[in-house]
Subunit: 476 residues, 2 copies
């Protein structure tokens, strides 16, 4: 069959797909396929033989077997909210786009075991909701949670605002069901907490961006719900105090810091200038501020902890001002400001250059200082807006150049930022992945032993090279 299938005409290939999924599972009209073939930032647009929407793991396995036999590539896609072009095919039109959205069942949830089993097409918000309905918490949270699907979140090892407390997606996965590149099914939907029987194969597929197989379902860790949380906004004397304040927060709260976000003056200015309804929470225009969410066993205790924390932070000279949200509305207003930084910068005049970088938490002040100096040396009028997840060392170091700056100037800024990241032993992709957007930048700085080992792995798992072939590979 594979030998015969290799000679399949395109229409015979489509017939085989339809035989697997039924007609509603296969689209071939350009108009139907279009929304799936472009990423949501509209950086990439590709072509495909078909968009295929399977309804079960067996269908995915049959599709992949068919493709392996026919030499057709497979590009898996979840909610298509990725930021690096990893979920859309390239322009050659010789692949299928495999869209997992119909596989969206919660297969099971066990509150006593603090675990649930969900299919790849489940939207994150639905998973959070199902956990909540069972009296439990699934803690992954990020901007795209109303659209992003579990399969894609696993394939990209997604991050978000709670990583410092609960880890990334990798840390929340207990087991996986994966269709391998030969169409066999690795079925390890275990909810075991301990299982030392050789290689932990599921780790391969988490963060592999669909290059080693198709995640069709996952078992996930759950947590007890939070009883009380408070949102606090602190002004720092200097950025250098940020990591020390974080450390103090961890120590004074029994390690219950849910998130710890850096907000620079530039970010507040972008937000308040361009996004209606945002307000600067403090007087005096502090240069560096932090938005943190802390949880506790009860409101009373949390208040007591925060009283001690605030006192200690002032005494240690780590904060100059601050405000604790006294209501849900005040808390929402603070988080709105945090979220409005992105939109405010988008609406600001000039050319916006984004980076998703990380360094060791204690190195963040040094990195921001060095990278800012380096950018300003070339572009003295650049606006620099380094905001985001200070709690886990992941800052979106965004730069605004004046309108009319050349493409070379834009590229030059990223090269400067990445060079400083290299100096600090940091990462050029903290949470968004490599996809196609960062493949060249990553390849340029990937040490040979890592590149060799990664290539050997990929070849061993996918010898025909049919799984998401454009990802991790610089365009020629």
């Amino acid at each position: 069959m594979p030998a015969a299938a290799a000679a399949l005409s395109p229409s015979a290939f489509i017939d085989r797909l339809v035989a697997i999924t039924g007609p509603r599972g296969v689209m071939t009209a350009e108009g139907d396929m279009a929304p799936y073939l472009e990423d949501w930032r509209k950086l990439y647009r590709g072509h495909a033989l078909a968009v295929v929407r399977p309804a079960s793991t067996d269908e995915v396995a049959a599709i992949v077997r068919l493709c392996a036999g026919a030499g057709v590539s497979v590009v898996p896609q979840g909610g298509n909210t990725g930021l690096v072009g990893g979920a859309v095919p390239d322009g050659d039109g010789r692949s299928i786009l495999l869209q997992l959205g119909r596989m969206n069942r919660v297969r099971g949830i066990d509150p006593i075991d603090y675990s649930m089993v969900v299919e790849a097409g489940c939207v994150l918000e639905a998973v959070q909701g199902a956990a909540r309905d069972a009296g439990r918490k699934f803690p992954l949270s990020l901007g795209a949670e109303g659209t992003a699907q579990i399969g894609g979140l696993i394939a990209t090892n997604a991050g978000g605002i709670h990583v410092m407390r609960y880890g990334m997606m990798r840390d929340l996965v207990l087991g996986l069901e994966v269709v391998l590149p030969d169409g066999s099914v690795l079925s390890e939907l275990t909810t075991l907490r301990k299982n030392n029987v050789g290689y932990d194969l599921k780790q391969l597929f988490i963060g592999a961006e669909g290059t080693l197989g198709i995640v069709t379902a996952a078992s996930l860790k759950l947590f007890p719900p939070l009883r009380a949380t408070r949102t606090i906004f602190f002004a720092l004397p200097s950025l250098a105090d940020g990591p020390r304040l974080l450390s103090l927060c961890r120590e004074f709260t029994g390690d219950a810091v849910e998130s710890f976000e850096l907000i620079p003056r530039q970010g507040i200015d972008f937000a308040t200038a361009h996004v209606p309804g945002t307000v600067d929470p403090l007087e005096g225009r502090p240069e560096w501020t932090v938005l943190t969410e802390i949880s506790g066993r009860s409101d009373e205790r949390l208040q007591e902890d925060l009283d001690h924390l605030v006192e200690a932070a002032f005494q240690a000279g780590l904060v100059t001002d601050g405000t604790i949200a006294q209501s849900e509305a005040q808390s929402k207003a603070l988080w709105l400001l945090r979220e409005a930084i992105v939109e405010g910068q988008r609406l600001a005049p000039g050319i916006q250059i984004k980076h998703d970088v990380s360094v060791q938490v204690s190195d963040m002040p040094g990195f921001v200082h060095a990278a800012s100096e380096a950018v300003w040396r070339i572009h003295p009028d650049a606006l620099i807006n380094p905001f985001g997840h200070l709690g886990d060392g992941n800052i979106h170091f965004n730069v605004t150049l004046k309108a009319g700056s050349t493409a070379d100037a834009v590229k030059g800024v990223s090269e400067i930022v990445y060079r400083i990241i290299d100096d600090f032993g940091g990462s050029i992709s903290a949470e968004h992945g490599i996809g196609r957007l960062k493949a060249a930048a990553h390849a340029a700085r990937c040490p040979k032993p890592r590149a060799d080992l990664a290539a050997r792995l990929r070849k061993a798992v996918d010898p025909k090279g049919i799984m998401n072939p454009s990802v991790f590979r610089p365009a020629r």
Copy 2:
């Protein structure tokens, strides 16, 4: 050089080793090598061309290059406290034993970043101590911590008594330095919390039991120290209430359950009969008890939490009796009882058969019931002592047969236990690994897609098959 090296005589090979490490790094006398060639349970005894004790990563790399060229296998060893024979060579004498104990420097510790970098030969207790001295906590804790080394703990993905709170060794590793089977060095001693740049290669080596490369150093996660902890001993109405009590403990303490250990009547009887100084903590000989350690922000708050917890547990009918340690001495006495179960069973008459199995936490009562019934059906007089880490579903389901039972009877008991484990989708090695001891039992139940993928991985990373070749492979 590899081609020439392949023709090396044994003495020329040893000369090359000595040229790399100096004479104090190479032992070849049988008497000197003996302690390294036998595992501490004395189940395995092997032979080696030499025991080599390198002092640096460069030396490890040079040794592995030499071995790769000469076709000599490499068996890595840390503190030699493994329980499945994974750290001693087999009988053919064609490998070297690579002992990492001289590489025992703490390379760095950063309390603000909550991270440290240590060499593979650091003993766990020393790592815990260095973290404590810096005002931080490294939470991995297990019986062999005074001898076990970080490299071996990583290679075996070690567990212990705090897994339910902090995870296994895998969850505590931020980065690794690994000498690959061709002698190149994968140098990823990052302390980044977020780093999504393609495959997370370090995951390959954690739990691989030395079959894919030699871990020479690691960067590790640290935590804030605990402020207050209490030890509690509960009697359960039935084993079925164990998982529900655990769930209640998590909810009533802000998820601050540090450990949750099951102690059956049989375990108490073994301990109190054979280990001096142990006492039964409660009246009335309850059949099932639990030893738990819970932490809190202060003694007062913890006491308040425990008051509420105990009240709720009694109200829900999940406990029939209990005692909270009121002093360090009382706490130690309770933990002594827990630890004395192992020694007590060792000293008891009869043949002791040990199992390190896990099931989903909520399935533990069902598993223990089913496995006990199945064993008693064949051996009505067997004593069954299922104790250990209920908090993460890992029970040491140990069975005593009467003295004089045949080897077939012993083997039969393990087969019964493993068959029930299979029925529950559990693991035949929760925390000890596969090594050589469980290779056949694992191979017999390993699904084909997993076995194939694991074999392809191993071949891709170690094409010459020189890394710890007896591990994961059933003896012929």
